[in-house]
Symmetry: C2
Subunit: 222 residues, 2 copies
């Protein structure tokens, strides 16, 4: 039987991936990465709540501590000396929340875990609209990474799936509605852990997506 893993940060994109995987796959595990971001405790809470919602048993939940990323630094998400800037509208400039090559580190660990538990599919909520400035959100990047998996694993039978990569945020919201995902349990804000700030990159994109879809975002904002 095919085993699948969902990389679930707790944000809207990975939540929709979780909804898709739980609809389409028989054996689903959820993996969460704690990389020492400012909102890590809040995101973990969302992960647990979403896993409860989808009735994922304890042995199929894995939290990987990635606080070692602080050793690399260079990002407002992991380096306490750098402040998260407010969102200033779309641009091709790579935001200060960029950790060099971060998705490759996350994917490598997730694939290692997938090989360990003999999973064949790895769902990740990468989304290109999110981040035209992030090179590791492009479809061509995932194609290249899938090639590395074929070359670099024993089984050569693990594939990364990016079901929302080419969707606009509006479409992700509409897909989530169709799947009846628990939006109220998700968390997107990079900055606050009580009520969402509404102004960081991640909040701004989320709010625009809900607005364009004509759906009320059930989480609270400041």
């Amino acid at each position: 039987m095919t085993k699948s893993i969902v990389l679930l940060s707790g944000g809207m994109d990975s939540l929709v991936c979780a909804g898709l995987a739980c609809r389409d796959e028989k054996d689903v595990s959820f993996v969460h990465m704690n990389y020492g971001q400012k909102t890590s405790v809040r995101e973990r809470k969302s992960f647990d709540a979403i896993a409860d919602h989808y009735k994922i048993p304890a042995e199929k939940r894995k939290v990987i501590d990635m606080t070692f990323l602080k050793q690399i630094g260079g990002s407002s998400l992991t380096d306490d000396a750098i402040t998260v800037k407010d969102y200033k509208g779309d641009s091709d400039i790579i935001p200060d929340s960029y950790v060099p090559f971060r998705n490759s580190i996350i994917l490598s660990l997730a694939v290692s875990w997938a090989e360990r538990i003999s999973a064949q599919k790895l769902y990740i909520g990468a989304n290109y609209e999110d981040s035209p400035g992030y090179p590791d959100c492009r479809p061509s990047y995932y194609d290249a990474f899938n090639k590395v998996i074929k070359e670099g694993t024993k089984s050569a039978d693990i594939t990364i799936l990016t079901p929302v990569i080419s969707m606009k945020k509006k479409e992700i919201v509409m897909k989530g509605q169709e799947l009846q995902v628990p939006w109220h349990l998700s968390w997107s804000c990079y900055q606050s852990s009580d009520r969402s700030c509404g102004v960081c990159d991640s909040c701004a994109l989320r709010l625009r997506g809900f607005k364009e879809a004509g759906i009320v975002d059930p989480i609270e904002y400041k």
Copy 2:
């Protein structure tokens, strides 16, 4: 000016890479990975001694703690519950010292660091003869990984170099002699930290390489 990084475990393959980089490059940094292996303290000692030998200043030495790999497990190198087996001769069977997709995790972190310090070259002592069973030591794996770097980094200007990948151990020893690398400072044993065991995979391959090259290995064996 081109900046280069050498991934230096302290073993013979990475030592020869260090010798090559220090001969051919102007600005060289050394990176060491401590992934909680049984001989990690001994390997770190070799790293420091080799960095001293090549007069690498403190700000160009980076030790990355990868003990988080224990979260994945599945290998005799990182999982205390698994014993390192003695070497039983060449085979295509993947040894128990295999950490799933380990080189991808190491490379991802090293590339993240390379992007952080604006380095363009990353030397790694991968060697195919070492490990016909390790899929992530094949040249095709590194070609695929270089493609991921092009796709997934801002600069798209970092290349992994694998100068010893197709050499036999004998040739690596001969190359090291030509470069006058400090063999006496290196460490290869997976099992012991005082005198090398001489029987683990890594010791067996090293001893054979020196024997075939007709050179005396200056480190002590049990």
